[in-house]
Structures are given as C-alpha cells and as structure tokens.
Subunit: 225 residues, 2 copies
C-alpha cells in the first residue's frame, strides 16, 4: 500500500514536470507569435492552453485524492500540498503565455512590439523560459542550488522591465514610434506578463525548497507569490 502511495506521488511529480515543459514551450511560441507577428502560432498557443488547463485540473484532483486516500506522513504531506501550489503556478504561467499570444493576435498583421523593444522582449522571453525550465528540473532533481538561483534570474527580469519603462516614457518613443500610446500600453502589459511568469517560477522554487527542507525560505528575496 505504502509502495503504491509512493509510486502515485512520483507520478504526480513527473506529470508536473511534463506540464512545466509544455508551459515552457508555450512561452517560447507565444514570443515567436509576438515578435514575428505570426498569427497561426498565436492561435496554436491560445488553443493549447485548454490542454494545459486540463492537465492542471487533473493534477489538482490527483493531489486531493492522494491527500484523502491515506494519511500522508510529514514529508509526503509537504510534497502533496506543495504540488497543489506548484500546479497552480504552472497553470497560471500557461495563462500568461496565452495572454501574450492574444496581444500578438489582436495586433496582427501589425507587430505589437515596435523595433526599439524587440531585443529586450526577446531577452525577457529567454529569461522566462530558462526560469520555467529550471523550476521544472529542480522539481525532478530536488536540486536546492538551482532553486535558489531563481531569485537571481528574477533580478534580471526586473532590470529588463525597468529599462523598458524608461524607453517607453522617453521623448524618442513619443515622437519616433507610430501609435505611441497604443504600443506603450501593449508593451507595459506584455512586460507585466513576462515578469509574472518569472514570479511564478520563483514561487515554484520556494515550494520546492519547502518540499526538500521542510522550511519555507525567508526574506524579501522570496516573494510570497
């Protein structure tokens, strides 16, 4: 019985990693849709989010069943409770990738992101994908060191966002970018979506540290969400 329980738990962790792989791909594709103004890729990301939501619901249900079936001991309980939270973070990251794809689709055949911000968004996307991938791997390998690295990665995301804000409110933007206000609004929201993806990866790192050590990391470096 105990053995069955453990194999069920392992299965949940593996499904979480599969789900985080899917979401990492969604972030990559949403960025392609955005920067190449590719509407068919955008549609694929938007449609694909239904599958990610279904994985979310199934995994959440599996965690509840595991909690109900047998009184889990401390380490197991931590793993299951943290898994319900990680599944929420990954699901939410999928929603954010969908939001990015929706902006790409809304502006098509225009590019939502004007030339001066293309490199910055490409870098944001790389950082976000790397963070989601790292969070997934950490879950599988129970690698504390990688989980801690997520805080530093998040600093780069914050810096990218600050530098985008400076560009958007500059004189060059107002006078040099066509539809300056609309593009500014899109860029502000897009920047917010990538930043939130990074926040969720940090939150996953936090959960994983809790699973491994039994202690939630403390301090301002670890936002609660």
């Amino acid at each position: 019985m105990r053995e069955y329980y453990h194999s069920e738990l392992d299965e949940v962790v593996h499904q979480l990693v599969t789900m985080s792989d899917s979401v990492q791909i969604a972030v990559r594709d949403a960025t392609t849709a955005l920067l190449d103004a590719n509407v068919s890729v955008a549609e694929r990301v938007i449609a694909g989010d239904l599958r990610i939501d279904a994985m979310h619901d199934e995994l959440e249900q599996r965690c509840f069943t595991l909690l109900a079936r047998q009184a889990p001991v401390a380490g197991e309980l931590r793993t299951i409770v943290a898994a319900t939270q990680v599944v929420a973070d990954i699901g939410r990251t999928g929603d954010l990738a969908k939001h990015i794809a929706e902006i790409a689709r809304m502006r098509y055949p225009d590019h939502a992101v004007p030339e001066p911000l293309v490199d910055s968004f490409r870098r944001m996307s790389d950082v976000a994908q790397e963070m989601v991938g790292k969070a997934g791997r950490t879950l599988l390998d129970r690698n504390l060191e990688e989980a801690h690295e997520l805080v530093d990665d998040d600093d780069e995301m914050d810096n990218l966002r600050s530098s985008q804000f400076r560009q958007i409110v500059s004189e060059e933007w107002s006078h040099g970018v066509d539809k300056a206000v609309e593009k500014a609004v899109d860029a502000a929201l897009l920047g917010r979506y990538y930043e939130r993806i990074a926040d969720h990866a940090v939150a996953m790192g936090r959960r994983i540290i809790y699973i491994i050590t039994g202690e939630a990391p403390e301090g301002d470096d670890w936002p609660t969400t």
Copy 2:
C-alpha cells in the same frame, strides 16, 4: 479530539474572513491614495501589506498543521485544501492593492489617473471591494447564491476595462492628456490590477462552491484563477 478539530477549522475560516476584511480595506485605501494623490494613505497601504503577508503565512501554516495532525474526512479535507487556496487568493489581492498604492506614491504629488478616467477607476474600485466583501461573506455564510453572483460582477469589471482601453487609445487622449504615454501605461497597469482583484474574488467563489458542494463549478464562466 474531533470537537477540537472542528473548532480549529472554524477558527481558520474566521481568520480568513478577517483577512479578507483587511484586504477589502486595503483596496479602498489604495484607491483613495490613487484618486486623491494622497501619499500618506499610500504609505499606509504599502506598510500594511506586511501584516497581510504575515496573516497569509500564519494561516497557511495552520492549514498544513490541520492536514498533518489528523486524517481529515472528506468535507474537512475539502475545506482545508480550499482554505489554503483562498488564503493565497486573499494574499495576492493584498499585493495588488499594494501595487496600486505604489503607483499613487510614485506619481505623487501628481495624480496618476487623469480626469477622464477618474469615475471609471472609482467604479472599478467599488466593484472590486464589493466582490472581495462578497467572497468573504460567502465563506462565512456558505451562501451558494452569492458565490455564483461573483461571475456577473466580474463581467462589469471586464466591461469597465474595455471601455478604459477605448478611451486611452482615442485621439482625445493623445492630444488632451498631459504626459499621454506615461498616463496610458499607468492606467493600463492599474486597470489590470483591479481586474486581477476581481479574478481572485471569482476564484474564491469557486473554492467556496467546492467546499459546500464537493464539486468545482465548470464552464468558461469560471476561470481557473
């Protein structure tokens, strides 16, 4: 022992309601700070979020302890698991109120919101406060009807947001609003924060329906987050 368990559970629910009351006030005050350009109220909201985060951590820990202490039966298990999710929603709503206050503080002594959008933001704030309050009351009264109303309330929030977007990208905005780009970016992000507060209230309604009925509500009306 069973009795002690139930009183512990009741206590968690009451603390959740207290926390949602605090967050409702934070949303109200953040809006005052924003629309009156009142920096001392903004500071109070920002400082107060530490207290909300502390309530979050304490309540989350209590839920984990309840899960660990004694194998809960089905209804109890549902309540505790949903409580861990509701506490996350309320905590996140507090963060969003803080973000609103931070924009008010950043633009002080200027008003972040230009005159043409003041009424719209005031209404958004009223809807958001009403929804947070309703979600809290539903938790206490186990009132299914009120929990279902949250979906309709959310429709009003979405309409307010769409109408703000139309105003922001209009000719009148570009030519009539001082610092048009900066104000557009602020308004887009502020609108997003109020919208997310409403989303979290809807998610709380969803959790509460799950606690009461044992079934998660289905359909597009019920976003997963």
